[in-house]
Symmetry: C2
Subunit: 458 residues, 2 copies
């Protein structure tokens, strides 16, 4: 069995387990109390805060422990927006942020605020120039992830922080994916992270708010954690989170080199082992352990099941694997193929052999899924000028499979018109054209659904 979904949650680090067990005995009491058990709990909490602050690169009194990374983002965004209410109500986020940031932005819009989404390039990366362009006199806050959770692309946080600083706008960095690898560079104002991403226990997030950043807590008052996390502190888990952060940091430099080699191997080998694959994400500016690729003519959910049966746990941004049946907003913003999408995120310590076995198993798994779906093989050419494909009522990846099946039937210069009412088609048909070097003419409304026009150019 190989668990390749560390970007969702990492198994508990042995140091976290040890620290958790030790502090279950010492850290259960109320740290606000003056008696012995309370004082002991307070000491543990203070020590954990110092250790975590050192790893983050902030002062202990700038750091609060929250219940989850999502909660840290929600509280951080809402508090910074409220604190800067006088400056204005404009919020900047990148188009590829984690859902916790995008949901915060939606809530802000629902309350009358305005939001600018900064676009990314095909590798999923923003530029400082695009943040500079988005900044307005009424901008209250900008948000940028340190690295993307789906494709591993690292963002130019330091440059964006500089641009924001020059405009007097605080920058909140969602460092959930990267904090285990090292502190976030640059002059950020707020930072959020989540312990279970670095091998800490569930139930601990952290929120750093630099001194001098205007911050106003929303909602009911609470005395604990500077009012930034409501209710009784989860000290055993906090202690374990801080201890494991130190532990993974001690191993980070060496492990990053090792995992980067493994993911580099996947990046290089997958397109050679599997036909019609697009590896996505920035090839250089990327996290050590994440690699993502999409396979044409493949149903993501079926592929995940096949890989699970072979003993590999991976995730996917394909529409068929989400409860809403829409493709990942990250892949969408990047404009890359979303069908047959696979994210491999290796936990520290992943043995090379597991990666090799994955590379052995993957081609057969993809081929099996394609065969079941009737994916195209080279067809006898009839050369019609325009072919219409009716994919109404069919879901990803069927519309693209049907497009590919008939594509050989039109002569160069001819067109295919795909009728589809599947939201993923809007993303995947242009992506197929990009991959195949064919011309995507555009879409137009049809009687039912949408007609997508593709011109054969070669």
């Amino acid at each position: 069995m190989a668990y390749f979904d560390a970007a969702s949650a990492a198994p508990l680090h042995p140091v976290a387990r040890q620290a958790l067990q030790a502090s279950l005995d010492e850290g259960w009491a109320d740290p606000a109390r003056l008696y012995k058990e309370g004082r002991r709990a307070r000491l543990l909490l203070d020590a954990a805060r110092e250790a975590a602050a050192e790893a983050v690169g902030c002062r202990p009194d700038e750091l609060s422990f929250t219940s989850t990374g999502t909660r840290a983002v929600h509280t951080g965004v809402a508090g910074a927006l409220a604190g800067r209410r006088r400056a204005g109500r404009h919020l900047i986020v990148s188009a590829v942020e984690h859902s916790s940031v995008l949901h915060s932005a939606e809530a802000h819009e629902a309350e009358g605020g305005t939001v600018t989404q900064v676009a990314v390039d095909r590798a999923g990366r923003v530029t400082a120039a695009s943040y500079a362009e988005a900044l307005r006199p009424d901008t209250a806050l900008a948000c940028l992830q340190s690295a993307n959770h789906e494709v591993g692309t690292e963002q130019p946080v330091a440059e964006v922080a500089e641009v924001c600083r020059a405009a007097g706008v605080p920058l909140l960095v969602d460092a959930a994916q990267s904090l285990g690898w090292g502190p976030v560079d640059g002059d950020w104002s707020l930072l959020a992270a989540s312990a279970h991403k670095w091998g800490g226990p569930s139930g601990v997030g952290l929120l750093a708010v630099r001194k001098g950043v205007r911050f106003s807590v929303r909602g009911p008052v609470d005395e604990r954690e500077s009012g930034r996390a409501a209710g009784f502190e989860n000290i055993p888990a906090i202690v374990a989170a801080a201890a494991s952060l130190r532990a993974v940091r001690a191993e980070a430099a060496a492990e990053a080199v090792r995992l980067r080699e493994l993911t580099e191997r996947i990046r290089a080998r997958v397109p050679r082992l599997v036909p019609d694959v697009e590896v996505v994400g920035d090839p250089v500016h990327r996290l050590p352990g994440i690699v993502t690729f999409s396979c044409l003519y493949v149903d993501g959910e079926t592929l995940l099941h096949e890989l699970d049966r072979e003993g590999f746990s991976v995730s996917s941004g394909s529409s068929c694997t989400s409860s809403t049946l829409t493709p990942s907003h990250v892949l969408k913003a990047m404009g890359v193929l979303s069908e047959g999408n696979v994210r491999v995120s290796l936990p520290p310590g992943t043995p090379k052999e597991d990666v090799e076995r994955f590379l052995e198993v993957l081609p057969g798994a993809v081929a099996g899924v394609r065969e079941k779906l009737g994916a195209p093989a080279p067809a006898a050419q009839v050369l019609q000028e325009e072919v219409v494909v009716d994919s109404l009522g069919k879901r990803c990846p069927i519309p693209v499979i049907e497009l590919a099946k008939v594509f050989g039937d039109v002569p160069v210069g001819g067109t295919v018109r795909v009728l589809s009412d599947d939201e993923a088609a809007r993303l995947d048909i242009p992506a197929w054209c990009e991959m195949r070097g064919q011309e995507y003419v555009g879409e137009e409304p049809a009687d039912r659904g949408t007609a997508y026009l593709i011109r054969r150019v070669s």
Copy 2:
């Protein structure tokens, strides 16, 4: 060492520890994922929800796990108020609720809502009639604790629920103190609780919202826990919380009898062992493990330190033990003495010997504090018609000590005028009169602070 502050936090139950350790291996992955580790986590979460729902007395799909009991209250109150926004913006709470409820009420007022605080009697208990009186056509929600956290008084929840139900108003019950002892009777609509109060781990609260109750989640959307708890589920802690709830429930009936005998013994013995003590809270309708008393002429913080040195961990609602230097709002609402306040809350399993030793130690500890503060001994009587005591700049319990010292100096019918600028005096001087059977005439503004008038009647 004896830990007598279970109402703050109970040490981890052995069953909780076992369940936590077992599920650290099985429950760390994302339960929303389809691969093996995710399915295992989902099974654990589902089983824990079923067990907890059974203990609460609701359907599993009515129950969400939150990060703390405080968060459960904040989310429950805000969600129910938002869901009933069309009915109106009036909220009813009792005057002795936990701070999480009162802070929610303050936040609601800050947003333009209105709040009615229902008063309690001297035992800390509300009546259904007073809730009936507080209900208005625009009442959106009523809140009532199942039992009080400072004095242990149980509230008539079933009767209040009936009154609310008849008016079509949902009732939110804060069951944090009582859920370990049994389900909450009556037709409540929402219920909040906290696992570390029943020997579960920190980091788990629960919020039940009955089907049919209008509820609208405030703030950013999140997919997990019906949107009622943001971020990654803390499954190992949730499993431990559910397991320990079952375990304490299995022992509850027998343990309640045993602890009730112990607290009854404290209730009966303390006033005989220590002069000038008031035992507060309802003598009949009360939780098994909590007993609270106040000692005249005693500084609460010093007494807590003395008891800590003797190996007893207790808490206090005295002003000197709070960061804001105001006495507990609960004692204030009850109109009882707040100085020298001690809350003893016994964890299940407390040995009788610990309680006996506490009763041995307490009289000396109180006497020692009184001696240091120069508390009154019977004085030679000079019989002036009015004596003025200047306690300006002195804090609880000094004003009452100085009142008592001179009280023998006035004849029956004469008055003492105490000048004080300590907020606790407003509560404690009338309480002293009540205990002593003397007449509290009232207060009037003085050049500095307030003058409190007391007439000697016996």
